[in-house]
C-alpha cells in the first residue's frame, strides 16, 4: 500500500526535485515502471531477514528452521517465556543507558573534533588527521588486551564505564564522516558569522551543527546501533549478571542450552527480536530529521 503510494507520488509530484526532467513523457512512463519494480524488489529483499527473524521467533521449537514464512501455530508464548526465563528488562535498561550516553558522547565529541580539523588552520593538523585515520587501520583484536589493562588500572572493570566512556574522546570513523560534511559547508556562512562577532564555539554550535543535523543523526544512530549490538566489550568487562547488556544476556541464553541441554532457538530468536525492535523504532524516528536537513540547507545562500 505504502509502496503504491510512493510509486505514484514519485512521478506525479511537481515542483519538488525530480531526476526525471520535464517534457519527456514517454521516458517518464518507462522510468516510473522501472522505479516501481526496483523499489518493490528491494523492499522485499531488505524486509526478508527481519521478517524471517520475527516469523521464526513465533514458531514452536521443532519448526524454527522449517523455512515457512507464516508460523503455525503462532507461539506468542515464546515472548512470555523468554521474559520469564531471563531478566530481559534489566538487560534492556543497561543497554539503553550505555546506548544513549555513549551515542550522545560520541556525537558531540566527534563533531567538535571534526570541526577542529575542518575549519581551522594550524601546524600539524594534517598529520594529526592522518593519525586519526591511521587508528582505524590496526585491527582491534591486538589492542584489546592493552586497552583492557588500562581500564583495569583505572579500576573500571566490572562497571558499565568502559562500554561508553571511550566515546567521550570522539571516534575516528565519525570524525572523518563529520569532517567531510563540514568541508561541504560554504565558507561564507562562517565568515558572515565572524563579522557578526560570533566566537569559534558559536560558529560551531550555532552554524555548523544545525546545518549538518542529518549527519549528526546518522552518527548518533550508527553509534547507538554499534553499542546496542556489541557483545565483545560486555563479555570481557562485565562479570556481574546485574550489569549485563542485552547481547551479553542473549549469549547466556544461547549458552545455557549447550551441554546436554536442548536448543531453545525459538527463545533465543524471541530475545533477538526484542533486541532489534528498539533499533528499528529509533531509526524510524531518527530518519524523519533527514528531511529537515534539506530544509535548513535549502535556506543557505
Amino acid at each position: 500500500m505504502a509502496l503504491a503510494e510512493a510509486a505514484s507520488s514519485a512521478s506525479a509530484r511537481d515542483g519538488s526535485r525530480a531526476v526525471v526532467s520535464r517534457g519527456r513523457r514517454a521516458g517518464k512512463l518507462v522510468s516510473r515502471a522501472v522505479f516501481l519494480v526496483l523499489l518493490s524488489g528491494c523492499t522485499v529483499l531488505f524486509l526478508a531477514p527481519f521478517a524471517w527473524l520475527v516469523s521464526a521467533s513465533l514458531k514452536s521449537r521443532s519448526e524454527v528452521f522449517n523455512n515457512e514464512w507464516i508460523p503455525n501455530p503462532v507461539m506468542w508464548s515464546n515472548y512470555v517465556d523468554v521474559w520469564a526465563a531471563a531478566p530481559v528488562f534489566s538487560w534492556l535498561q543497561n543497554s539503553v543507558f550505555v546506548g544513549l550516553i555513549g551515542a550522545l558522547a560520541v556525537t558531540v565529541s566527534s563533531a567538535a573534533v571534526a570541526f577542529g580539523f575542518a575549519h581551522f588552520r594550524f601546524r600539524g593538523r594534517d598529520a594529526l588527521f592522518g593519525l586519526v585515520l591511521a587508528t582505524m587501520m590496526l585491527p582491534g583484536a591486538v589492542t584489546m588486551i592493552p586497552v583492557f589493562l588500562i581500564w583495569n588500572e583505572l579500576g573500571m572493570v566490572n562497571t558499565l564505564v568502559p562500554l561508553w566512556a571511550g566515546n567521550l574522546f570522539g571516534s575516528a570513523f565519525y570524525i572523518f564522516l563529520l569532517r567531510q560534511f563540514y568541508l561541504g559547508l560554504p565558507r561564507d556562512l562562517f565568515d558572515a558569522a565572524r563579522i557578526d562577532g560570533a566566537t569559534y564555539f558559536q560558529m560551531w554550535w550555532r552554524v555548523a551543527l544545525p546545518l549538518t543535523r542529518t549527519a549528526l543523526i546518522v552518527v548518533f544512530i550508527f553509534e547507538f546501533k554499534a553499542l546496542w549490538t556489541d557483545l565483545l566489550k560486555p563479555l570481557i568487562y562485565l562479570y556481574d549478571s546485574a550489569l549485563f547488556t542485552m547481547p551479553r544476556g542473549i549469549k547466556t541464553l544461547i549458552d545455557r542450552f549447550g551441554q546436554g541441554g536442548e536448543m531453545q532457538w525459538e527463545l533465543v530468536l524471541a530475545a533477538t527480536t526484542i533486541l532489534t525492535v528498539p533499533l528499528i523504532v529509533l531509526f524510524f524516528f531518527g530518519q524523519r530529521y533527514f528531511i529537515e536537513g534539506i530544509a535548513t540547507s535549502g535556506t543557505k545562500g
Partner: protein, 453 residues
C-alpha cells in the same frame, strides 16, 4: 524386536544391580558425599551457564554447604577473550569452567594450578570419574581439572530406508568398511542431478579423528608431543570417508543437500527419509525424540574395525587459574559440584520437573561413574518408546568406550591442520596423502613451538 526385548531385560537387571550398589555405598558412606571443607570469602566463577535445574540445584547445594562463601557467578559459557583478559590483568577468577579439549592449552602454559593438594584435602576420588573424562584433564600424571559431563557419539539409523533395501540395523556395522560403502551405494538416491537421500554420512571433517581411531591410528601421540596425521591408518581413513561422498556426486551436492535438512524440526532428515545412517553426538537423540517421536529410527554403537564400540567424548571441566585469590573455596566448589550426591540431587529435580510436564527423564551423563549409576539405577525409567529407550542404553554402553585427543599445548592448531587437510581432499585440491603430509608438517611445527616455550 527380539533383540530389543533382550536388551530391556538386561537393562533392568543392570539397573537393579546399580541400585543395590548405590545403597551399599550410601550406607558405607564412601565415594558419594563430598567431605566438608574449610572455605569462606569471595568466590568468582567464570564460564558456567545458568540456569537450568541441573545447574541451579548444584549451586544451591554448594551455597547451603558453604554459607560463608560469597559466590559471584559470571553466566554464559567461557570465551577465550574473556579468560585471557582476566588472566592478563592479574586478577583471574577463582574457578573456570572450560571445554576439556581446551584445558591442556592453558594447563601446559602454566595458567592452571595442579590440583594434587585440592584432591588430597577434599578427599576427592578421581577414580569415580570415567576414564574418558579424566584422561584429558590429566597431563603427565598430574590432574589439572575436575571433569563433568561426558557426551559421546553413536550411530543413528533410519530403519525405513533400511527396510526399503531389505536390510536391518545389524547391517549398519561400521567395523566392516566395505559393507558400509556398499550400504551407502544402496541407500543413496539421486534424482537427476539432485541428491534425495544420503546413504551414509561419515560427518567430515569433524569426525575424522573417530575414523582414524577406528582404523587403529591416532592424531597425536599419547605424550602430546608428536603429530601422527599422515600415518597409513589416517590416510586410509581419509581416502575411505572422502570416497563415501562420491556416491552423492561429490562433496558439493552432498553438502548442498545436507544444508536443506530440517535438522531440528518434525520433518528432519530421518522423518523425511533423507539419510540412511550416520554417526552423531548423543544430544541429537533428544532432538529426535522431541521433534519426531514416531520417526523410524534406531540407535547403535559406532564400532572400530575390530568390532569394538568406539566413541569420541567431549565435556567440561573445572579448573583453578594460577593466581586465583581463593583456591580453598574453589576446591570446595569443584568437589561439591562434581560429587555424586550433588549430581543425584540435581538429576532428581530434573526428573520431577519432567514428570510434572508429562515427559520422560532420559538421564544425565555426568562423567562421574558413581553418579551415573545412581541416576540410571534409580531415576531413569523406560519411556515406552522402545527405539528411544534403546538409544539411552547405547549411550550408557559407550560412555567408557570413548577416547579423547591426548593433552597437548597446540590443540587448536592441530585441529586446524587436519580440518583444512580434510577439506582440501573433499574439494579435490589434493589427495589424502599430500594433504595429510602438509597437515602433519603444520601440526608438528605448532607442537614443537608450543612445547619449546
Amino acid at each position: 524386536m527380539q533383540g530389543h526385548v533382550r536388551h530391556t531385560e538386561r537393562r533392568s537387571a543392570v539397573r537393579g544391580l546399580m541400585r543395590d550398589l548405590a545403597t551399599l555405598m550410601l550406607v558405607a558412606g564412601i565415594g558419594l558425599a563430598a567431605a566438608q571443607m574449610e572455605a569462606s570469602g569471595d568466590l568468582r566463577v567464570l564460564g558456567f551457564g545458568m540456569p537450568d535445574e541441573i545447574a541451579t540445584v548444584r549451586v544451591d547445594t554448594f551455597e547451603e554447604m558453604y554459607p560463608d562463601v560469597s559466590l559471584q557467578l559470571t553466566e554464559g559459557s567461557i570465551d577465550q577473550q574473556q579468560l585471557l583478559t582476566a588472566i592478563a590483568s592479574g586478577n583471574p577468577p577463582d574457578v573456570v569452567y572450560l571445554n576439556r579439549d581446551d584445558l591442556s592449552t592453558y594447563a601446559t602454559r602454566g595458567a592452571l594450578q595442579p590440583l594434587d593438594q585440592c584432591i588430597e584435602q577434599s578427599g576427592l576420588d578421581m577414580g569415580q570419574f570415567r576414564p574418558a573424562a579424566s584422561q584429558p584433564v590429566t597431563i603427565d600424571g598430574t590432574v589439572y581439572g575436575i571433569p563433568e559431563f561426558n557426551n559421546v557419539i553413536l550411530m543413528i539409523v533410519n530403519t525405513a530406508a533400511l527396510e526399503e533395501a531389505g536390510l536391518t540395523v545389524e547391517d549398519v556395522d561400521t567395523s566392516d568398511w566395505e559393507a558400509i560403502a556398499a550400504l551407502n551405494e544402496q541407500l543413496t538416491t539421486v534424482d537427476g542431478s539432485n541428491v534425495t537421500r544420503i546413504g551414509f554420512d561419515p560427518k567430515l571433517p569433524e569426525f575424522f579423528p573417530l575414523w582414524v581411531r577406528a582404523n587403529g591410528g591416532q592424531l597425536v601421540s599419547d605424550d602430546g608431543r608428536t603429530a601422527m596425521l599422515n600415518s597409513p591408518e589416517a590416510i586410509e581413513a581419509l581416502e575411505y570417508t572422502v570416497g563415501l561422498h562420491e556416491t552423492a556426486g561429490g562433496r558439493g551436492p552432498f553438502m548442498a543437500f545436507r544444508d536443506t535438512w530440517d535438522f531440528f524440526g518434525s520433518n528432519n532428515q530421518v522423518a523425511a527419509n533423507q539419510i540412511g545412517a550416520w554417526p552423531m553426538e548423543q544430544w541429537y537423540v533428544n532432538v529426535l525424540v522431541e521433534s519426531s517421536p514416531d520417526a523410524p529410527v534406531a540407535f547403535a554403537p559406532f564400532l572400530d574395525r575390530q568390532g569394538n564400540p568406539l566413541s569420541f567424548a567431549t565435556g567440561s571441566a573445572w579448573a583453578i587459574p594460577t593466581g586465583a585469590s581463593n583456591p580453598d573455596a574453589a576446591c570446595a566448589w569443584m568437589a561439591t559440584m562434581t560429587s555424586a550426591d550433588t549430581w543425584f540431587a540435581a538429576a532428581s529435580e530434573r526428573a520431577s520437573i519432567r514428570a510434572e510436564e508429562g515427559r520422560t527423564y532420559t538421564g544425565t551423563y555426568t562423567g562421574n561413574l558413581a553418579a551415573d549409576e545412581r541416576i540410571f539405577g534409580e531415576l531413569v525409567q523406560d519411556s515406552g518408546n522402545e527405539a528411544f529407550d534403546h538409544g539411552v542404553d547405547v549411550i550408557l554402553q559407550v560412555q567408557d568406550a570413548a577416547f579423547s585427543i591426548p593433552a597437548n599445548p597446540a590443540g587448536a592448531q592441530v585441529r586446524q591442520a587436519w580440518t583444512d587437510a580434510v577439506n582440501r581432499v573433499l574439494n579435490g585440491e589434493q589427495n589424502a596423502e599430500e594433504a595429510l603430509t602438509q597437515a602433519q608438517e603444520e601440526a608438528q611445527a605448532a607442537l614443537d613451538e608450543a612445547w619449546e616455550q
